[in-house]
């Protein structure tokens, strides 16, 4: 029951509970002796009923009763009538136990068990439930059981939705009722394919309904929860879609064997390829599975017979990921060729919910290969990337016409078929925005501000492909700034959201992105082909996301932020140099996404907090040395003490690492690192032998 104060117990109550405990203990002893010797006589079964009436939490007694029922059912002389009366007895016992405590898991479960035997009247159950739900309308056991009964008797969703409505009208602070409503509506929506109901008709009505609750009492949480569910329903498209790719559609990719290549190639599309292959990245709007050489068809002038191996880019080892990568081997001789890739012509790419990728898309690009000169002695000995201010020059396009970032609007796959279909979504969001602006004009309300921020962002993202601009990003950033001040308890959440909006804003247009593009050029290494570095430093970012427009980036500066995690960075497959200096990374395992970056050579993780905290809270995400047999050149002690380092750096092909300014980085650790990474040329700026 909700809202009933607990009374302090009196001395006489205590005495009573002692006698009760004694009685219960005696009963229990006797019950166990029956149970262990498998006695299912009438007296024995009645004893268990008595026990359960006093203590409905006695799981063993419930199980004993189940055994007793099974025992009876296996008797040769049982007939349908006696079975029914036996099960009715069970229902009675459950009912009296529930009267004692209607939140008893065991009792509700036993009732389900009896009902699923299929001999009892289901109608009675609904009547019983009505009683229980009237007594406590937020008892989630009763609501759970209600779903079970409704399914058993094939009660229509509409009737059940009506029931939630009645309960909500009695008291709208009923999270259980709202939740059940969302469950029922989801199940109705899933039947959409059978011409049942359309989201676009249903959601506006639900919005209208929840507004009544939210406006009447904005302090009540249940309404906001339901609104959040509705927002999610509005924003998520059912079907997976391809959002962006690398290489982008219509782009020219220049592959060069080493960095000595001078040429007039755009630094944005020139890729160093010392492994003789380049990655193809598919970025979807939601995690999908089933990306393979049979679902993604590739046609190109070279590499005719080889099947591509598609790999999910997710930190957990599941076969579901939002980003997938495959490496295409390129010819070793000078070569120009076009590549065409088709996604989704067979229906095996599906979301975890089971929605198919149903809008096939095709993209193509041109590849220009420069012959690879295998002259490793020249490569990278002198190379030393210094993340110094003076080494970054504001990028200016060399000629007026040249489009620096590979045709920016091509970065995103245009899903024209979605544009008309999602009209109702943007309309619904616009309506919501207007509604909550009104609420905020009446009163100051934290959750109202948060909701408005979410709505504006969702609206911008939804209408983005057409507007090509995040119109409200300034306002949203302001809202989050406001919230950080108003609600310090949730400061970190707002900070994270703020960071993500900021990133989205910076990547939203070519103009804004170019402001963060710099050309790296240091005094010594004139040989380096002046790569473009995206500098997102000093922005006090606490989280990063929105990589779909950054797939082309080869050099990224995230230094002087407040990052604790770099989740999602694995999507940037072309990354060659990365600075994470002066952030708040607390452990080596936080670097996990880097393990997926095969082209990463230069890494700066100096001045973080690695090693500050003896307990690594993300440790469980990383597999343990005990579950691996590594034929290692390291001795066991080093392996166990520096397992994380081994795990993290073993598969990276780093040539340059800066780790100074972390507690963990003592001399011993450095020597371990050198052993783990034989390719390492520079550690903390010092040239290694």
């Amino acid at each position: 029951m909700h809202g009933r104060p607990r009374k302090a117990s009196k001395p006489e109550d205590e005495a009573a509970s002692i006698t009760k405990a004694q009685k219960l203990r005696a009963l229990q002893t006797q019950f166990f002796s029956f149970h262990h010797s498998k006695i299912y006589t009438k007296e024995a079964v009645e004893l268990s009923a008595k026990l359960l009436e006093i203590n409905p939490e006695s799981y063993t007694a419930w199980n004993y009763r189940k055994l007793a029922v099974e025992h009876y059912l296996s008797q040769p002389d049982c007939n349908p009538e006696s079975v029914k009366s036996l099960l009715d007895d069970e229902l009675r016992v459950v009912e009296s136990a529930l009267r004692q405590n209607f939140k008893s898991y065991g009792a509700w479960h036993h009732r389900k068990w009896v009902l699923s035997k299929g001999h009892s009247s289901v109608d009675l159950e609904l009547r019983l439930l009505d009683k229980f739900q009237k007594a406590d309308s937020r008892n989630f056991h009763a609501w759970n059981y209600r779903r079970f009964v409704a399914e058993l008797m094939n009660r229509s969703e509409k009737d059940e939705i009506k029931y939630t409505e009645d309960m909500i009208y009695t008291n709208f602070s009923n999270y259980s009722a709202w939740h059940n409503r969302s469950v029922l509506l989801s199940s109705l929506l899933e039947k959409k394919a059978e011409g049942f109901l359309l989201k676009e008709n249903l959601l506006p009505e639900e919005y209208e309904f929840i507004h009544q609750a939210i406006f009447t009492d904005p302090d009540d949480q249940s309404g906001w929860f339901y609104h959040l569910w509705l927002l999610d329903q509005t924003v998520t498209t059912d079907h997976p879609l391809l959002v962006s790719t690398w290489p982008a559609h219509g782009s020219d990719v220049f592959l060069v064997g080493d960095r000595c290549q001078n040429g007039s190639f755009s630094p944005f599309t020139t890729v160093l390829s010392d492994s003789g292959s380049f990655p193809i990245v598919l970025y979807f709007n939601q995690p999908v599975k089933g990306v393979s050489s049979s679902t993604v068809i590739i046609e190109c002038g070279f590499n005719k017979n080889e099947e591509l191996l598609w790999e999910p880019l997710s930190v957990s080892n599941s076969q579901t990921a939002q980003v997938w990568v495959a490496h295409l081997k390129c010819p070793t001789s000078e070569h120009d060729s076009s590549v065409e890739i088709s996604v989704g012509y067979s229906k095996e790419i599906v979301s975890p919910r089971g929605s198919q990728y149903s809008h096939p898309s095709t993209f193509s690009f041109k590849v220009h290969v420069q012959p690879v000169e295998r002259d490793s002695s020249r490569v990278s000995v002198a190379e030393n990337i210094l993340w110094r201010e003076e080494n970054f020059k504001v990028y200016r396009a060399q000629s007026e016409e040249s489009i620096p970032i590979p045709s920016f609007d091509q970065l995103c796959i245009k899903n024209g078929h979605e544009s008309t279909a999602s009209n109702w979504r943007t309309e619904a969001l616009a309506k919501e925005v207007e509604c909550f602006r009104e609420l905020l004009s009446l009163m100051d309300c934290k959750i109202g501000k948060l909701t408005l921020a979410r709505l504006l962002m969702a609206y911008d993202v939804m209408s983005f492909p057409f507007a090509n601009k995040l119109v409200h990003s300034e306002e949203v950033l302001e809202l989050y700034n406001d919230l950080m001040k108003l609600d310090p308890t949730h400061h970190r959440y707002y900070k994270d959201e703020h960071s993500l909006v900021l990133l989205r804003k910076m990547t939203s247009s070519e103009e804004s992105l170019l402001q963060h593009c710099f050309q790296y050029k240091d005094s010594v290494s004139s040989a380096i082909g002046n790569p473009i570095c995206l500098r997102l430093n000093n922005l006090s970012l606490s989280r990063i996301r929105a990589f779909e427009r950054l797939l082309w980036v080869q050099m990224l500066d995230l230094s002087h932020n407040e990052l604790e995690s770099i989740e999602g960075l694995e999507a940037m497959q072309l990354l060659y140099g990365l600075s994470l200096g002066n952030n708040k990374l607390r452990s080596l395992t936080a670097l996990e996404p880097l393990r997926k970056l095969k082209s990463l050579r230069v890494l700066d993780i100096s001045y973080n907090q690695i090693g500050d905290h003896s307990i690594d809270t993300t440790r469980y995400l990383c597999s343990s040395p005990l579950s691996h047999s590594v034929g290692s050149e390291l001795n066991d002690v080093a392996l166990i003490n520096y397992w994380e380092a081994f795990y993290m750096f073993k598969d990276l092909n780093l040539t340059q690492l800066d780790i100074v300014g972390n507690t963990i980085a003592d001399e011993k650790f450095k020597s371990v690192l050198v052993k783990i990474m034989p390719l390492l040329k520079r550690l903390n700026g010092e040239l290694l032998d």
């Binding site: 009695t170 406006f215 009447t216 904005p218 009104e438 609420l439």
Partner: protein
């Protein structure tokens, strides 16, 4: 009424207190005095309980009203001047109802059912679940003799016949279809402010300055739109007079009182499990309330004699002090104290000079209330004003029906489920404060014309039977010609058709605490709280030493059985 059995002699002949009339205040005082171990004789000249608070069969209502509308007959010449100790003062009735207007449109239908009606003389009246009357009923155990039902809803009406739901609780605001989202938010925030203030939360305390200001100013200050303001003032705080008319309004509600009313309303919702709304109505009508207190008094030893008119008052020859009463049976009964119901007027027998102290006091006995009169109307229909609902209250705020409407009009529809009428019928009680008879009629007719179809009088089969007091036909047509002609007054428009109506104006008299104490007439309020206060005041006056229903919760002689649920009123679902 011809063959009344001979009056039995009453024994004993001396009491602590004699109460004449069985209206609500009298009954409460009788019960309280009996509880305080006084010997009490409770008399009523009528054959039923309740006096001006009674619920009567259809046929009896007109005659009850008319007997109390005539001026007293001139004092009878006193023949027997037998007593030497006492002066004898005549006790006569005075007119309390005027402009009585009974119209019968379906005599056949009603005649056969007359006894199935329990019509409240002092309607419309209801209880707030948490008001003083309910507290008193619970404290005294009078709840054993009554059953209640919840009134389903409150509406605010307009001159087009629309009834707008009054969103009076969180759930009702949520559910309401006529309020905009902003209005919902504003109203709920205002309710929360009041709740917070009542709970003594520091950050939402309403300042003393605000508490002393007019409630309407405070509502304006809170920025509430006119519609919501009107809901709060007239349908929740139940203000009688136009609060916006701040210069003229006779009783301007202060914020403090307004907030108290809101708190009462709020506490009433959900107080009892089976009561959905804030208001309750007793099964068998309001007359049950007086009767319940009489039964309570009888349990404590009060002696009841009905059908016993009291003809004279006996006062001490020299001091003019009250001594006793002379009954219609001729018996003299003596007591220390006397309570009279407002029906009675004390007059001097002709040709006698009263003791000097009385000469000064008598002219002021039973003063009228300066608030004027109250217009009441009772209508009977065959269909509900709202198709899906039986029992509800409708409030017409000032100026909602016509520009000169200075007071709010309340209408209470009660269905047969409350045993006030035969199955399938509905009783509508209407009342409004007014200054004179014409104004009163206009107010009641305005509501009737808005909501009801009044059938033509001259039809032969439905020959209207007029009561002897009504001098002309039904007055609706001519008096309110303008308002009935504005709207499309097609009779078949779905408005309920009127079967019967009684319109009358009632005097408002104040209770009197003097050499003789008299009780007040029913007031213009919806609930009984002011009347209970008056009864308490009278009791305190005559028995300053005694406690008014002392709290003896454990002792409850009538309650043998399940003793657990008795802090509840009986509610029928």
């Amino acid at each position: 009424m011809e063959d009344i059995p001979p009056y039995p002699p009453i024994d004993p002949t001396t009491f602590d207190l004699i109460v004449i009339g069985t209206g609500l205040p009298e009954s409460i005082i009788a019960a309280a005095a009996s509880t305080a171990s006084k010997s009490v004789l409770h008399l009523d000249p009528k054959p039923f309980y309740g006096s001006h608070f009674s619920s009567l069969p259809l046929a009896d209502l007109p005659s009850f009203l008319s007997t109390h509308s005539t001026s007293p007959s001139p004092p009878r010449p006193r023949s027997s001047e037998d007593s030497n100790e006492f002066s004898v003062l005549d006790l006569s009735t005075r007119p309390l109802y005027s402009s009585i207007d009974i119209s019968v449109f379906s005599p056949d239908l009603l005649d056969q059912n007359s006894r199935k009606f329990n019509l409240d003389v002092a309607g419309p009246r209801a209880f707030f679940c948490a008001d003083k009357s309910i507290e008193l009923i619970l404290n005294t155990g009078a709840n054993q003799y009554m059953e209640f039902k919840s009134i389903d809803a409150t509406f605010v009406g307009d001159n087009k016949g629309n009834l707008l739901n009054v969103p009076d609780s969180r759930a009702a605001i949520f559910k309401d279809k006529s309020l905009g989202l902003m209005e919902k938010n504003q109203l709920m925030r205002f309710f929360k402010l009041v709740q917070g203030h009542m709970a003594g939360e520091q950050d939402v305390k309403i300042s003393d300055e605000d508490l002393q200001s007019p409630f309407v100013d405070f509502l304006n200050k809170m920025g509430l739109p006119p519609k919501i303001k009107s809901f709060i003032l007239y349908a929740i705080a139940m203000a009688d007079n136009d609060q916006e008319d701040t210069g003229v309004c006779r009783d301007l509600l202060k914020t403090k009182d307004g907030i108290d009313q809101l708190a009462l309303y709020n506490a009433s919702i959900g107080r009892f499990q089976n009561a959905s709304g804030a208001l309750l109505y007793p099964i068998y009508g309001q007359g049950e309330l007086s009767q319940a207190f009489c039964r309570r008094a009888a349990v404590k030893g009060c002696i009841y004699v009905l059908r016993m008119p009291v003809t004279e008052l006996l006062v001490d020859k020299d001091s003019g002090c009250y001594k006793g009463v002379r009954l219609a049976s001729g018996q003299d009964i003596f007591s220390q104290k006397l309570i009279l119901d407002p029906t009675f007027k004390v007059t001097l027998p002709s040709g006698l000079s009263p003791p000097p102290p009385l000469q000064a006091k008598l002219p002021f006995f039973s003063q009228k209330d300066d608030r004027g009169k109250i217009a009441r109307g009772i209508c009977i229909t065959m269909t509900s004003l709202k198709p899906d609902m039986s029992n509800f209250l409708v409030v017409y705020p000032p100026r909602s029906l016509f520009p000169e409407q200075a007071t709010s009009i309340r209408l209470l529809q009660i269905a047969s489920s409350l045993a006030v009428c035969p199955p399938g019928m509905y009783v509508l009680y209407i009342s409004a404060l007014c200054n004179d008879d014409d104004q009163g009629k206009k107010l009641i007719h305005a509501v009737m014309n808005t909501l009801l179809t009044v059938p033509p009088i001259n039809s032969e089969s439905n020959a209207a039977v007029q009561s002897e007091t009504a001098e002309s036909g039904f007055a609706v047509q001519d008096e309110n010609a303008e308002s009935s002609s504005t709207g499309p007054s097609d009779p078949g428009e779905g408005k309920p058709t009127l079967l019967w109506s009684a319109l009358y104006n009632q005097e408002l008299t104040l209770g009197q605490v003097d050499f003789i104490c008299s009780t007040p007439m029913p007031d213009g309020k919806l609930n009984h709280d002011d009347l209970i206060d008056a009864a308490i005041k009278l009791f305190k006056k005559i028995y300053p030493e005694d406690e008014f229903f002392p709290q003896t919760s454990s002792e409850n002689p009538e309650d043998d059985g399940d003793g657990d649920g008795d802090d509840d009123v009986s509610l029928e679902t």
